[in-house]
């Protein structure tokens, strides 16, 4: 399937506006904890997931909302999850850092950097031995590229020619650490050294990402093995919603402004005919209004159920007190 430019635009805009609303809801204390916004990086998830089938698998990160939306998750249930409600995708148990929809092949956001990578290899193998060859995409950042488990996974994926796509979102920073101060050599060469296809892509250009993703899924489905995509992108917001309360000097406003000039949503919107573009904007706002309403209307979990869903066997964990 190939997505139209307006589909891509709609997805990117949904992610952008979803995140902007999340920030408001966090600041209004309607969402507990912290969330990591995907704003600026929308073209990456959108372009890559547009090349996937419904039954393909992705593993996401701490910055996962965009991946989920792009893979087709219901924003109403996402919103309910972030508000910690029973109609959330994870029944309010997961929150932003663990949000998942297994039915859509979304094996979850993850609180631990790069920890989802080996899940993708296992999923890819499970389906590669089966009849249908499903693709598994593992998303991770430039910081995640320095976790050993990622290298262990690249080695296996290349060795076994698994249908895995290593989608590296290089947004230039791991929290405050610039990529140049965390990473030796080039990410593309590091991946290529395992004998896998590896390319750098402009992560601010959704069509370029989509094309690269099509090349990668093509290889994967043809049993030609994994692909590494370094998507060069940028995050406009702080590392997480708490950053604005901190005085961190790791990047300049000028740098942020420079990247915003290449905004993928503005660029794509400009290519659409005005009417379509406006119609999409309205539709997205309606969708998100509805999502917030849906989430607010959903009940909070009952503390009496706190020990449920820990074991698939139905075992109830021990309580912390007697009697």
């Amino acid at each position: 399937m190939t997505a139209s430019l307006s589909d891509l635009y709609r997805t990117m805009l949904t992610i952008r506006r979803f995140e902007e609303r999340i920030v408001e809801l966090v600041n209004a204390n309607e969402i507990a904890g912290v969330t990591h916004e995907y704003v600026g990086q929308e073209a990456v998830a959108t372009g890559i997931c547009a090349a996937l089938n419904a039954d393909d698998v992705i593993t996401s990160t701490h910055r996962g909302h965009g991946h989920l939306i792009a893979k087709g998750a219901d924003v109403r249930r996402m919103m309910a999850e972030l508000l910690g409600r029973v109609d959330g995708l994870n029944r309010g148990r997961g929150g932003s850092m663990h949000i998942a929809d297994l039915a859509l092949g979304i094996y979850g956001a993850n609180g631990i950097v790069a920890a989802g990578a080996p899940f993708a290899a296992g999923a890819a193998w499970a389906t590669a031995v089966g009849a249908t060859r499903r693709v598994a995409v593992t998303f991770f950042g430039d910081g995640g590229a320095n976790q050993g488990v990622l290298h262990e996974t690249m080695n296996l994926a290349a060795l076994w020619k698994l249908p895995v796509i290593f989608a590296c979102e290089n947004n230039g920073y791991a929290v405050t650490l610039a990529q140049s101060r965390s990473t030796a050599g080039s990410l593309v060469e590091r991946a290529a050294a395992y004998g896998m296809a590896a390319e750098q892509v402009d992560g601010m250009d959704v069509e370029a990402v989509l094309e690269a993703a099509h090349r990668a899924t093509g290889r994967a489905r043809a049993a030609e093995g994994p692909t590494f995509l370094e998507c060069v992108t940028y995050r406009y917001f702080g590392h997480h919603t708490a950053e604005r309360t901190m005085k961190l000097g790791y990047r300049t406003q000028a740098e942020i402004d420079r990247w915003r000039l290449r905004d993928p949503i503005t660029a794509t919107g400009a290519k659409l005919d005005r009417a379509d573009e406006e119609q999409i904007r309205t539709a997205v706002e309606e969708l998100l209004d509805e999502a917030v309403e849906f989430a607010r209307a959903s009940p909070r979990p009952d503390p009496a159920d706190a020990l449920e869903y820990v074991y698939a066997s139905g075992l109830l964990p021990r309580r912390g007190f007697v009697g």
């Binding site: 698998v57 593993t59 959330g88 995708l89 994870n90 029944r91 309010g92 148990r93 997961g94 663990h98 998942a100 929809d101 297994l102 039915a103 094996y107 979850g108 993850n110 631990i112 920890a115 989802g116 990578a117 080996p118 899940f119 993708a120 290899a121 296992g122 999923a123 890819a124 193998w125 499970a126 389906t127 031995v129 598994a136 050993g148 488990v149 262990e152 996974t153 080695n155 296996l156 060795l159 449920e308 869903y309 820990v310 074991y311 698939a312 066997s313 075992l315 964990p317 021990r318 007697v322």
Partner: protein
Amino acid sequence: MSTLRYLPALGRALRDEMAADPTVFVVGEDVRESLRGVTKGLLEEFGPDRVLDMPISEQMFTGFATGAALSGLRCVVEYQIPSLLYLAFEQIANQAQKLRLMTGGQAKVPVVYLVPGSGARLGLAAQHSDHPYSLFAHAGVKTVLPATPADAYGLMIAAIRDDDPVLYLAPAAVLPVRGELPDDPEPVPIGSARIHRTGTDVTVVAIGHLVHEALALAGELEGEVSVEVFDPRTIYPFDWKLLDESLQRTGRLVVFDDSNRSCGLGAEIVATAAEEMRLIARPRRITRADTPIAFAVELEKAVLPSRAQLAGAVRAAAREGPAG
């Protein structure tokens, strides 16, 4: 009914379950050649897609099993050394074990983490002699520690069929033990303990290979102290109900536990009994010292729980409280 050793019984369970369920497969280091003796013949019988040698990348292949499990397969992961579980600790305790709760019940992670040869083995020294079951019990990971060939068989079947991650530790010291196995053996339910020998004076909770030491001691003390030998078989969830029944009878508890003392399983058993059960004598623990195992055999023996220490504790307990 046939007599066989522990390791073949364990291997047979894996083989039978792979034959019964095509979604079951094994990964690990040197499993094709069956270096540890569990996977003998599986490659020939089930082919290379169900017996997979992995690179030396424990974190990766532990997470690989999670991904395969989320995709509908059942994976048995073999680790050559107990301390390799430390490399995979995040993937087991923080990922696989938590996925069910984190996804609000969406995920099911049927993976068995198998260590064929855990605990000390004279001369293997500090990094190859740990017995880390208490760590996983603390993390709420289902953990089994069979002491006999029949339980090795029955608990492996149950572990593979279980929809949650299960840690399966086969103590090095029991691998050579012989025992009976019925012709069509049953699974042993996870969470059910077993009383190997009934007694009226003192309940000895013995873990893993120490069950055999405890039984030997119970025999030696015959006539002097009547010892009930309690084998939890499953470390987590622990069979508190059966322990409570045993203590209703004896009221005296000695735990014989081959893990470090502090925050070990022995502490949990003594604490739970002290809080909730009938005790007419002080509960006691015989455990490892809180130290890594040194290489020299004399030093290793000096810090492991011994039958002599157990005898002392059992006799001391028997002397306390009203005659049983």
